[in-house]
Each structure stands twice: as C-alpha cells, then as structure tokens.
C-alpha cells in the first residue's frame, strides 16, 4: 500500500499487483473469474483498511510497534484474504489447464462449490460490492453445486488413492465393511485381553465387598 501511495504501483510484485487496481462491475454469470474479482475486492479493501488504521494510529503519535499491535487483528484479516485469494486463483488456473474433459468437468463442479462457499464465507467483506440479490444468487448456486457433486462424492475422495494401510481407519475402509471390523477392532483392545482387569480385583472388588 505504501508503494502505491508513493506512486510506485508499477514496482509491485505480481502477487500484490491487484492492490492497485480499480473496482470493476461483477457479473456472477460469467463464471469463477468473477468470484475471483469479488475476492480481490475483499482482500484489497481489507488491506487498505488495515493499513490506513495502522497509519492513522502512527500519525497520531503512537510508536510504530504499538500502532502495529493495535491494528494487528485487521492486518491478519488482510493476510488471510490475500492468501485465500491466491488459493482460489491457483485452483481456477489449474482446472483451466486440465485436458481430460471428464475430469475437468467434475473439477469445474468442485470449483463452483469452492468459489461460492468461499464468497459466502467472506460475506461481511463484500458488503457494498454485491447486492442482496447477488448474495442470494451465490447462496442458491452453492446448494445447486452440492447436488451436482453428490454422485461423484465417493469417487472424488477415492481419487486421492490413499490405501487402507496408510489410512489406518476402520470407518474409512475402501471395502466399506465398517461395522464387523469395528467390533473386531474393539476386541483387539488391550483392555479386552482378560475379562477381569487387575484393577477390579485390587481396588473395586474390595470396595464393593465392604
């Protein structure tokens, strides 16, 4: 922000260049890149807000360290939004580069879940940019995306190809035979080596016999 304020926007690193950009119209019907613009708006506004708070405190005579501490919650919010913007941006770019059309199709569905959920999640930061109608549209789009993903849910997690050996989970077994194995697992508990624990004989039994 300080570079922008000093007229050095052209020297910004590529990951922070959006901080100097102007707001543009959002048309959510145009796809994930429009959601990215919403995130850019949120990250940019929050970064400016946090910086201005810090600068105002400093200009009021507060020390640099104290002003930084007083603005730190706002500053960490800016950092989170900047990072989430990067994650969303790489997700969109990666999906765009996939060749296999069936895989790409389901990842676009998943991307739609992501962008709608993420924008809903930062609703407070986009007040002023999006109308309540647009927020409703996003909310409804999220529910539609959940339904679209549903038939592929198991295949999407199977695709991680994490073996049963690695997963070490009775509940997550690939064959789905959960209940019989849950019982088998419980029986292998060291507590089940004997029917009567020494602690019962040593402490509980004498207590009960009193």
């Amino acid at each position: 922000i300080e570079m922008i304020q000093n007229g050095k926007s052209r020297e910004l690193g590529p990951m922070v260049a959006y901080l100097a950009e102007k707001e543009s119209e959002i048309d959510l019907n145009l796809g994930p890149n429009e959601y990215l613009k919403v995130f850019e708006y949120a990250a940019r506004n929050q970064t400016w807000r946090a910086t201005e708070k810090f600068q105002k405190l400093r200009n009021s005579g507060m020390s640099n360290e104290k002003a930084w501490n007083q603005a730190s919650v706002e500053l960490t919010r800016a950092s989170r939004l900047h990072t989430r913007l990067y994650i969303m941006s790489t997700f969109i770019n990666h999906v765009g580069s996939i060749v296999d059309q069936k895989v790409k199709g389901v990842l676009i569905d998943l991307l739609n879940v992501h962008v709608t959920y993420e924008v809903m999640d930062i609703g407070i930061y986009v007040q002023g940019l999006l109308s309540s109608n647009q927020m409703d549209l996003i909310r409804n789009q999220l529910y539609v995306s959940l339904e679209t993903i549903r038939p592929n849910a198991v295949s999407l997690v199977d695709s991680f190809q994490i073996s049963d050996m690695q997963l070490r989970s009775v509940l997550g077994r690939r064959d789905g035979n959960v209940y019989e194995n849950l019982f088998k697992w419980a029986k292998s508990s060291p507590l089940n080596k004997t029917d009567v624990l020494p602690s019962v004989t040593q402490y509980l039994k004498p207590m009960m016999d009193k």
Binding site: V106, D158, Q161, S169
Partner: protein, 439 residues
C-alpha cells in the same frame, strides 16, 4: 459393501485420471499405485498391532523395526533419487504418527541441499541420503519458539583454533521440539547466533554431530533428550538439546550463502532473507501435505457417510444414507473442494520455489520477498482451514468419529500441529501483513 459399490458406479470420471491430476502426472500416480501394491505384499510392513493401542515407546520401536525392514527393500521399491516416491513409501509404511527419519527427509536433507556449499554437500549429503547418519533441524528454542531474532544459542568463532564454540547460556535457550532430536538423530543442523570478535551476525546454520556414530552416546558438551508426550505425533521423539562449550570445526558452518573465512572475516549472503529458503520450501510443501491430511479425513467421512444410514426422506422403506442430507453435503463438500485447492496450490507454490532456487543461484533474488511473504500466509490459512475441515469430517461420522477406530483424531492432531510449527499462525499472518502494508 453394496452402497459403496453403487456410489462408485455412479461416478462420471476415471479415478486414475483424477489421481494423475492430483499427483501432478500420470507417471507418478502410476508409481504410487505400484509402490502401494508392492508394499502390500511384504508382511513385515504391516502394523504388528493397531498403532492406537500402543505406548509411545512401542510406537517408536515399531517405526524403527519397519525402518530396518525398509532398508532391505528401499532400492527395489522406489527410485531413491525421487523425493516424492520416498515420501509416499514413508507414508504407506510408517504412517503419520512420526518416526526417527521424519525430519531427516523433510528438513535435514533439503537444508543441506539449499544451504551447504558444494564441498559440504560432497562431505555430508551422500551419507545423509544413504542414511549412514540420521539428522534433524534444530532451530526452535524453549523460550522463543520460531522468533529467530530472540534465539540465544551462540556459535562463537575462535580464531586461534578456527573452531566455533557452541553454547546454550540459559534454560530458555535449549533447543526444544525438533522431531527425532531426542533419541534418534546423531547429527543436526543447528541454528545459532554467529559471533565473531564479539560482534553478533545473527542466526546461521551449523552442522553439528550430537552422538557418537558407533555407541550412539551423546558427545561430551551435549545435553539431549525427549520432551515427552504430545497431542499427536507420539511415534516421534521430539527433543531438547543444549550445548556447553561444544567445539565444531569452522567448516561445519553451512556456507552456501554466508561465509566465515579462516581469519574470521564474515561474507554476507546476497539477499537478507536467503537463509529463509528452507522455510519457504517447507511451507510450500505444507499446503500440499495439509491438503492430503484433509483429504484423508474426508476419505473416511465421505465413505462412511455412504455406508451409514439413518432416518428417512421420502422413501420410508429404508433408512437414507447420511450423505444424502444437505447438511452433511454442506459439511463435507466444501472441504473436498478445499483439499483439491490446497493440493493444486501446493504444486504451484513448489514450482515457484524451484524457480526461485534457480533464480537465486543465478543471482536473482527478486522473487524472494513475494514468495516468502505468501508462504507465511499460506501455511497459516491452510493449516487453520484443514483443522476446521477435519473437525467437520469427525462430526460427520457421528459418535464413531470420536473413536480412535476412525483415526480422525490422529489426522486432526497431526494437521493442527502445523498451526504452530514452522511459525505460529498469527505471527506468520502479521509477517505477510507487513509485506502487504509495504506494498
């Protein structure tokens, strides 16, 4: 289970093709499957008993047993020069609760690659890669965590003997937390303040032998041990380490970037943050690893949600799969999306890191600030959201999610450790904020 079979039949894509996207190439996805298949045929690699029923000592012993077996098969199972194949092998055989070589592979060797000079790599890297020595990376101190500027451990250069003298002047200066430091490692990269002629040049990395290579006994001047049980990762012997006038040769300071000559002259690195490159590397990897922790919890929760039936929707003849409830989908699907996003983002960030290494070697450090700042934020956001996602996965499994049979709590414990290691999240966010403000 017929429910899971039906779910698989309803999928619209080939999971092998998707695995190729997730793991970056068809070749590596295929190699993963081959390695998994080969491992499944070696009975000694199976857990001798479910890990969750074992004590810490039993877990460490079990990991050592498997590492010994692994050394017999290492060359036949994987391409040993391929880091990803090695990590997959470790994950399969040793799991995620930690083991004596955990930091050796993820911190020690990468740091030697990034920070040791060519001569130093000649001396130590091959030995490390052949596992003739076990190393770790000791930076964090008991009273200072990851606050590099507050580290107290000193490495004072003695011009007369051309040695560094290592000291831990206080209890708070004890190295504290590094995995495998307590009982397993016999060498470590140690971060200490470099002092020459009473001038403090700040933290620098040193290659330090901790234990005798034959007896494994700690060397004189070294205090080392295990820090005790943790929320998870209890198969690892996280350790403490202190020094009392412990001398190492001048050549044991890692000198790819900064240097100390035999007459005690200090040569600065080309970029102030060059020493952070191993941190950038680890944090880049973290996004992908955390994505896989989240993915693992989701594999459990989604499969179980397709098996578990409870309550009725329209059809009253049979209970409904809990995965058909919108609330369950809302709980799990955005996290699936995040797991994919984290993995893709991890790939991109590792690519940027690899590019950065090439640039730095050519004297161009311009990308360092952008990436260093970003990876600070990335590890914070990803570890936090992974923790959130795993907790949702646990609750999506109802009461059984709370049982160690689900193993979700182990994934949770291991994943959220990332909120504090490699930089506590709030500190990392403020580090990124400083960069944003300056921009």
């Amino acid at each position: 289970n017929p429910d899971l079979t039906n779910e698989r039949a309803s999928g619209t894509f080939d999971t092998n093709a998707m695995a190729a996207v997730i793991y970056g190439s068809e070749k590596f996805a295929q190699r993963r499957r081959e390695i998994t298949e080969a491992i499944s045929k070696i009975p000694e690699f199976q857990d001798s008993h479910p890990l969750v029923f074992m004590s810490r000592e039993e877990k460490i012993s079990e990991a050592c047993r498997k590492l010994a077996v692994l050394s017999n098969y290492w060359n036949s199972l994987i391409d040993t020069s391929d880091e990803e194949e090695a990590l997959h092998l470790y994950r399969e055989v040793l799991g995620l609760e930690g083991h004596p070589l955990a930091l050796h592979e993820t911190m020690f060797i990468p740091s030697l690659i990034a920070q040791a000079s060519d001569e130093q790599q000649e001396k130590w890297l091959g030995r490390a890669q052949r596992r003739e020595i076990i190393g770790c990376y000791a930076q964090t101190e008991m009273g200072h965590g990851t606050n590099l500027r507050a580290l107290e451990t000193t490495a004072t250069f003695d011009i007369s003997t051309r040695e560094f003298i290592l000291n831990s002047p206080t209890i708070t200066s004890l190295k504290w937390w590094p995995g495998a430091l307590g009982k397993s490692a016999n060498w470590s990269i140690v971060i200490a303040n470099l002092i020459i002629k009473e001038h403090n040049y700040g933290p620098h990395p040193f290659m330090v032998q901790l234990r005798d290579e034959k007896s494994h006994e700690p060397l004189p001047g070294i205090t080392v041990g295990d820090i005790g049980p943790k929320m998870a990762f209890n198969g690892a012997d996280n350790g403490f380490l202190g020094f009392k006038n412990y001398r190492i040769p001048r050549e044991n300071m890692l000198m790819r970037h900064s240097k100390v000559t035999s007459d005690g002259s200090y040569i600065k690195p080309p970029h102030a943050k060059i020493g952070y490159s191993s941190m950038v590397k680890v944090r880049s990897r973290m996004a992908m690893d955390q994505g896989l922790f989240l993915a693992s919890a989701l594999v459990i929760a989604v499969r179980y949600s397709a098996v578990r039936r409870q309550g009725y929707l329209e059809d009253k003849s049979r209970e409904v799969k809990v995965l058909d409830y919108q609330t369950q989908q809302h709980r799990l699907f955005p996290s699936i999306a995040r797991a994919y996003a984290f993995i893709f983002c991890g790939f991109e960030t590792i690519r940027l890191y690899d590019q950065l290494l090439i640039d730095v070697q050519n004297g161009n450090t311009s990308g360092m600030a952008d990436l260093h700042a970003l990876t600070s934020g990335l590890k914070s956001v990803v570890t936090y959201q992974t923790g959130e996602g795993i907790e949702q996965a646990r609750m999506a499994c109802g009461g059984h999610g709370y049982s160690m049979a689900s193993y979700i709590s182990e994934y949770y414990g291991v994943a959220i450790a990332g909120c504090t290691y490699e930089g506590e999240n709030m500190v990392m966010l403020l580090q990124l904020a400083r960069y944003l403000v300056k921009s």
